[in-house]
């Protein structure tokens, strides 16, 4: 079960994930991010506070856009991950590549500093 909400705030786009990301619905996440890139969003905030689980397929989605983010100078910040999911990002090493913050404020700050 996954629901994705997209909202524009100031200069940035907030994508909020609610539920679990697994192999069956990772495509939806992929579509949303692809859309955001296509719309030339330069600042993307991912709200993971309601994210309960993410499988390797879901992590694969973030991973596959890392290069695109670099090329198009998109700032991508994740915030609000629970401890378990944060650990998943950490184990895989993705925390070294993606900026992950605890709170929305920290995340927004990071977004507008860059």
């Amino acid at each position: 079960m996954l629901s994705i909400n997209k909202a524009s705030e100031r200069d940035h786009l907030v994508i909020a994930l609610n539920g679990e990301v697994d192999a069956s619905n990772s495509v939806e996440l992929d579509e949303v991010i692809q859309e955001a890139i296509a719309d030339n969003a330069h600042k993307i905030l991912l709200d993971g506070s309601e994210l309960e689980y993410i499988s390797s397929a879901g992590l694969g989605v973030f991973m596959s856009y890392l290069e695109d983010f670099n090329e198009k100078q998109v700032t991508f910040v994740i915030f609000g991950l629970n401890e378990k999911i944060l650990n998943v990002f950490h184990i895989l090493g993705l925390d070294q590549l993606i900026s992950i913050k605890n709170t929305r404020e920290e995340a927004e700050q990071a977004l507008y500093e860059a």
Partner: protein
Amino acid sequence: MVKPPNIARSKIYILLTIMSWFALLFVDLVRIFGEINQMEGVIKREITWILEIIFFILLYLFFNNSINKKENSNFLNLIWRAASTGLIATGTSFLIIYFYYILQDTRLSDDPLLRNFFYHVNFALTAIFLISTALLWKHLILYQKNKAVVQQWQAYEVILLISMFFVLINQESFNYGFMFGLIFLIIYGVILSVNLKWIPYLTFREKWKSILFLAIIVFSTVYLLVQLVSYTQKNVHFVNLSENLFLLGLFAFVLIYAVFSFLVTLFNLPTSSVFEQKLTEAISFQKLSQSIQPGENEDQVLDILMDSCMSAAYVDAAWLELHADEEDRRTGTVLYQKFISNGERQEIMDLLKKTEPFSAYLKSQTDARIEYLYGKISHEIYQSVLIMPVRANKKILGDMFLLKEVKDGFNKEMINIISTFVGQTSISIENYRLLNEAIKNERYREELEIAQRVQRSLLPSALHHNRCFEIDGFSAAADEVGGDYYETFRFDQDNFALIIGDVSGKGTSAAFNMSQMKGVFHSLVQLNFSPKVFLSKANSALSRCLEKNNFITTTYYTVNTKEKTIHFARAGHCPTLYFDKEKNTCRFLDIKGMGLGIVRNDTFDQYLEEGTLVYHPGDVMVMYTDGIVEAKNKNGEEFGYENLRILLSSIYELPAHEIRIKIIEEVYSFVGKETLPDDDYSLLVIKFKA
């Protein structure tokens, strides 16, 4: 009991019949000779009767035997057999008359013995004709028999048998008893003669032929009867063989059945085409309903459909147009065009697009529920049109156009029968498609089984080790195939390499990537790189072959049992759990790392770290994939790292094999029996001994 072969039996019958006939002839001639010379009582007339009965019975047996053998010969053959026998008997009788005509006024022509000889010949042929025909009638009567008819016939046979012996009981001719018996036989013959079920199955031509044959039979029967009776009246010195209830009864039966058949066939002639039509329809149904064999084409069924519909409604021209279909490349093609040229078809199509009610249907094709369209058009040749959509799996496959030259050419019955044909075709095609799909699925399943077998073989069956450590592994896939991988390698006596990995995603795609990982491992391990170099080379290799959103997590270890050291690097894989016997601590070896395929450039190294350990006897190392720690119970709780750590702390004393079993048991019991594992589980346990 040994049964004598049939051929021998029929030969015996012939022989016996001929013998009985000669005996009869001899006895009768002697009697007449005695009568002429007034020598009374030389041979009693009862002997004649008994011989006659024997002759009848033998004939009956012989024909019963010989006709039964040709059971599957058709009706026309049977009737022809009767007719030809009748012709022979009649012909012989004519020859005898002609013979006497030549002998006119000679003494020989008055000779009673010669006359009686010819009488016996005539009698024999008549008897042959009657008995054989009666038995042929039996076949016709018993066509599509039911129990009642069979019983009727058996009763009739018994009655005939009794009637043979009637002559012995009732010696006076044509008294009440005789007349009563004869009338009874005639009535019974009439009752039997109602069974004429074979006639409708004759074609029109066959009916004409059978009418001819039946006429011959009727004529022969009447003539032979008259002939036999006339002997009785003409001759003074005479042995009367015809005054037999059996013979007269048979005459009546053969004649009645022939006349009935003749009349019924005659009156059936006009309706015979209808019956033939219905029979063809039934056969068409059967053809349509036979499901198409796998590998054969649907076109064949459509062809049969066209032919069936055309013959059912006397259609003058027709074509079948298939609709555009994404799956089918024969888009909008005209399949089967019968008795109509392309030009004419186009002409009619244009006409139809202008004529209601066809135009609306042909333009939009939206009303999918329409069953048929029927109406007239103003074309110079064709006056009525019927359009039938042919469906399969609720989709319209195409339209069948049927044209007739007459106005209002399709009546309700025709449309009904065509609808049924179309329905049957749909079912056939649907069944065919379902069957094909089932076969395809079956093949996929087999392929998957093969994949499973192949993948099983990718995991090592034996793990390298020496006396310094024990090692034990386990792997289970959630689907048929999985993406977990572990392997060992031995460089020399003291040096080993170990790897454990997990491919992102699961199922078939993960399995393919796992086999790539295995290839990469075996290529690189031989070069004896340090773990960090090994992983960065592996990353470089895999970056070129993995899909954009796929990655592999792995940990690579080198173990030196001489120096008792372990070097390892972690590429995004779950941190190894390590139990230190000396310090009595259990911890995760969490060093910096990055999954293979995530960073696909030279900067990958900078995200890696290499760890080094010195082990002591009693230390335990547990390598696992995320399936183990992320295994969920029915409440959605994960097994978790902490549970694993606590578990190992309590069972580190056990040998590696038992530690492995215990951990797997615990994980499965945590998950519970109701929940299906949704990820692959793999586990590798090493226990150092020296």
